[in-house]
């Protein structure tokens, strides 16, 4: 990561914080209360954008993995790993916030007969296993390639998980985005979009911060070897 690229980080972090604050303000004070769901529908503004951000991170990880396999540049290995790490964090948050929403809406913390939930759990566990694979191999090109192939395979599960709720016939998980467009008011949709932008930007900032930290760490290790 170049010095000029690191310099943009504080600005991006401030923008993410501002957008998050604005999204929270809209979600709690501007967006109207849903007729049936009531106040608990406000979880939607954090749960769905977090899930979409998790997909984004896994997709970014797969893209970087593809670049590694294609170009052979080892810097993509770290970028793919950090993106998948971020995706796993946001995946865990998706499961936790979804579980809280399920408890208040359906009266249960989890429903095993819901394809959307189970497929997301499968996706999450698949990427958890990525770390087991990665840390069971010695550092080097072999580990980078194996991790890249695994990360690339996982991305196939994203459309399956995303479409599951639309393909399932018997479900209680709500479908807000249909072929007729979003099933909500304009203000609700705007709130959702801003929350989504804020969380994606937050994830990107965290990705860049973690990446910079890991690169500094690697440089210091190399410097210690040179000096020591």
């Amino acid at each position: 990561m170049s010095t000029s690229s690191i310099r943009t980080l504080p600005g991006l972090a401030a923008l993410a914080a501002g957008l998050m604050g604005f999204a929270l303000f809209l979600a709690f004070f501007v967006a109207p209360e849903a007729a049936i769901e009531g106040v608990r529908q406000r979880i939607f503004y954090i749960h769905v954008p977090i899930a979409l951000t998790a997909y984004f991170c896994f997709g970014l990880g797969a893209w970087k993995a593809l670049l590694l396999l294609w170009r052979g540049d080892e810097r993509y290995d770290l970028e793919s790993y950090v993106a998948i790490h971020q995706g796993t964090i946001f995946g865990a948050l998706t499961l936790i916030t979804g579980s809280i929403w399920a408890r208040t809406s359906w009266g249960v913390w989890w429903a095993w007969d819901e394809d959307q939930l189970v497929l997301f759990l499968v996706l999450f566990l698949f990427y958890c296993a990525y770390f087991m694979l990665r840390f069971s191999l010695e550092e080097g090109p072999r580990r980078a390639r194996s991790s890249a192939v695994y990360g690339l395979f996982g991305v196939v599960l994203i459309p399956v998980s995303f479409l599951a709720v639309r393909l399932a016939e018997n479900l209680i998980h709500p479908t807000v985005f249909t072929r007729d467009g979003p099933q909500m008011t304009g203000v609700m949709f705007a709130t959702f979009c801003i929350a989504w932008a804020a969380l994606t930007l937050l994830a990107y900032v965290l990705y860049r911060v973690e990446l910079a930290g890991k690169r500094i760490d690697a440089n210091l290790r190399e410097l210690r070897e040179v000096l020591g």
């Binding site: 929270l24 009531g38 106040v39 608990r40 406000r42 979880i43 954090i46 749960h47 977090i50 964090i89 865990a92 948050l93 936790i96 916030t97 809280i100 929403w101 408890r103 208040t104 937050l202 965290l206 911060v209 973690e210 930290g213 500094i216 760490d217 210091l220 410097l223 210690r224 000096l227 020591g228």
Partner: protein, 64 residues
């Protein structure tokens, strides 16, 4: 628990996750700073040794 408390819990969990993440990054920064200081001391020690070795016999280090 009321629906409002569940909503607060959902947002609170996200907030706590971000806080924990920032705390981990802060701890890492402290470690990187400590390592940088150690390496700087090591590099300065090396530089002083090189100057001492390069100085002509009888000349005090730092006068060259």
């Amino acid at each position: 628990m009321t629906a409002g408390q569940y909503v607060a819990a959902a947002y609170g969990v996200v907030f706590v996750f971000v806080l924990v993440y920032v705390a981990i990054i802060a701890a890492k920064l402290v470690r990187l700073q400590r390592e940088t200081t150690e390496l700087l001391a090591l590099a300065r020690g090396r530089e002083a040794a090189v100057r001492r070795d390069a100085a002509p016999p009888g000349e005090a280090p730092g006068e060259a």
